[in-house]
Symmetry: C2
Subunit: 408 residues, 2 copies
């Protein structure tokens, strides 16, 4: 956290403890810093787990380990290392994962496959096993901590800690959901990235939790972009301890399942927005909504094409109502689009429709909207009912400074 705090930062909320979840943090000193960089969360027996991981073809060994264990559906612990991504480290990286999971399994008396791991930070350097083991010993003996400590300990170049909560009523039982997340760009100093953890006391079957997380991911983490770069380490895990005492949810048709799905989607969206708000160099939060596409998938690709366009993002940074760049980004997406049906909105102002600027277009309200921190771009393709929203931040000198004005 060496950069100035993002101007889009929000205060860390008051988050409740989740029954069955005990977090602890410690200093493993993966880098030459004086801060907690190892997170150790114990989960009571009976906790189920679901997860989504990076689409990268070059995933870290931690990602591979999580993917291998997720079908088991059971979790007893989570270990997160910050400062070293352990990615692209071959057999040495795999050995580090095995050492960490074996040590925790031995400590808790559980199967290694119930220990989930993540790592984030510099790549190409194997996670030092001695530091990880010493850090774990410290964590084993540490007092439990709060969520703000966890959010800080999993951070790398994040400029503020990120957490959120929500709840759902299932029958007569209120279940709590808490999430913490880190991510700021896809890198800096090397390949720090998005890691998110959700904890709930709900009783839910692991297969259903996985379906719900995958669904929530599609309208949250999969709809944000800071710089279009995809990390080797992206991981979101959801742990459910079942301690709330609700009747077990095992199918979408079970009582409360709809409410829980909605709460999970809301929490994921909150967490995803926090990552965008800490986008490297960000000064504006941008929501891009695409309507009228031939399908939701097509709308999603067009929304991301706009959200990833350096020219759209620099225009917003410059508070420039340059809607021609939005036309360009629609055109380059490769998806069905008819220039002469296209309509574009900035904030609540229609700027173009039917393939040309609106008659008597007045830039004043658009200019006023662009001076704010929360920017909305709306596109209507006029072709069908496909709809999607994406979130991003602007592209500024801050991004260049963080990523280029630096020598490893």
């Amino acid at each position: 956290m060496t950069q100035a705090v993002s101007p889009l930062a929000t205060p860390f909320p008051v988050l409740p403890a989740i029954a069955g979840v005990t977090p602890r943090v410690a200093q493993a000193r993966y880098k030459a810093w004086d801060r907690n960089d190892l997170t150790f969360v114990t989960l009571e027996a009976g906790t189920v787990v679901a997860g989504v991981t990076t689409q990268s073809k070059c995933p870290s060994p931690e990602v591979e380990w999580c993917r291998a264990q997720l079908p088991g559906g059971e979790a007893r612990a989570l270990v997160v290392s910050a400062g070293n991504a352990n990615a692209f480290t071959g057999h040495k990286g795999r050995a580090a994962v095995e050492a960490v999971t074996a040590k925790v399994a031995n400590h808790l008396g559980c199967a290694p496959g119930a220990v989930f791991v993540s790592a984030t930070g510099v790549i190409g350097v194997p996670l030092p096993i001695d530091k990880a083991e010493a850090g774990l010993e410290t964590a084993f003996a540490a007092a439990p901590c709060g969520w703000a400590d966890v959010a800080a300990a999993i951070s790398t170049t994040d400029t503020f800690p990120k957490g959120a909560m929500t709840q759902a009523v299932i029958g007569n039982t209120t279940v709590m959901l808490v999430g913490v997340i880190k991510g700021s760009g896809m890198i800096a100093p090397d390949m720090a990235t998005m890691l998110g953890y959700i904890f709930t006391d709900a009783a839910i079957a692991p297969a259903l939790l996985q379906q719900m997380l995958s669904s929530a991911n599609k309208t949250s983490f999969s709809c944000i972009t800071v710089d279009s770069d995809t990390s080797t380490s992206d991981t979101v895990l959801a742990f459910a301890t079942g301690k709330a005492g609700n009747a077990l949810m095992a199918a979408h048709s079970d009582a409360g399942a709809d409410a829980f799905q909605a709460a999970l989607a809301d929490l994921c969206r909150q967490l995803a927005h926090l990552v965008v708000r800490d986008g490297e160099g960000a000064t504006k939060f941008i929501e891009v909504t695409v309507d009228g596409a031939v399908s939701d998938e097509s709308a999603h690709r067009i929304a991301l094409s706009i959200a990833n366009s350096p020219l759209v993002k620099t225009a917003i940074a410059g508070e420039d109502a340059n809607w021609g760049r939005v036309v360009m980004a629609v055109g380059k997406a490769g998806e069905p689009a008819e220039r002469d049906l296209l309509a574009i909105r900035f904030g609540t102002t229609q700027v173009a429709e039917g393939g040309l600027p609106v008659d008597g277009y007045d830039e004043a309200p658009v200019a006023a909207h662009l001076k704010g921190q929360d920017i909305r771009i709306g596109v209507d393709l006029g072709l069908g009912t496909g709809r999607a929203t994406a979130w991003t931040c602007d592209l500024t000198h801050g991004y260049i400074s963080i990523n280029a004005d630096y020598r490893s």
Copy 2:
């Protein structure tokens, strides 16, 4: 040309006249500037034409006009307007194209379909027909000019004029090829973009010229990227007057066709490199070579994934040997890749192979390479024989300044 000249600029070469081609330039004053912004090139009867245009789904009416006329294969004139892209202007834009082509056709006594047009600059504003017509009148009366004047007149935010030449021997005849091009980012002030024109005195059938240009395009203009944004107006046209007197080339098997294809590909590559060298904010020219992919197409997509990565481009700007970002960009391309077979080279130094850093990796020669202006990144996927090269520039504060520190 208000920005400082690119540090990667090269001097404008001495270019020969091409028999049958007569260029003229004039001031249409599409913007409030005191420079030539209208180019009018006449082509003697018998000139054939081929072209490639943008993949954008929102092309300008000029692009649509060129696409409609290209199957005819004949050209008598080229008109290029700089300062106004005439894109996203609906029926008003189409009317401007019709007015320009009709006026030239009337002047030359040819079919309007033999008049090719391009426009580049601000979008969403119809090309003012009165300025275009007055500019054409001035051009009709002007003395012929040289290629440097043409290269300057087609520029918008380019920081230096761009041209190149080559030749080929066909039978006993030497034919000349000259090209001029403009492009610097995909925009600034709005959506300036890549426009390229190639003139040759070779005698060649239009269908063969089209095949050869499409082929040359695949290893040149399609392999460069400045910021991943695709314009509404990209156009490359090749005109062949047949005045060299060589035996007509009508098939790839005809005498000299191989030599001409090679010369055309070489000229396209030279012109494409010039665009990268004037990339907005560029301080480094970057060549990305991918070997060992499952196919050439797969290698091309991976090379562009690396060349488009903001994190790779900012690392090069910072002279940072951050090869982990190359791993990331390979991983995100969505193409077949095996992390544990991947090898990466900077300059001539192998930095990683077999999925991890090379033993005893010494960063010193890589750091020295990165201090230069011409950077080479090599990736070997170890899967097959697919191969491709892409060219790009670094991403710097200059890019942000040009595109964000600006209000329309």
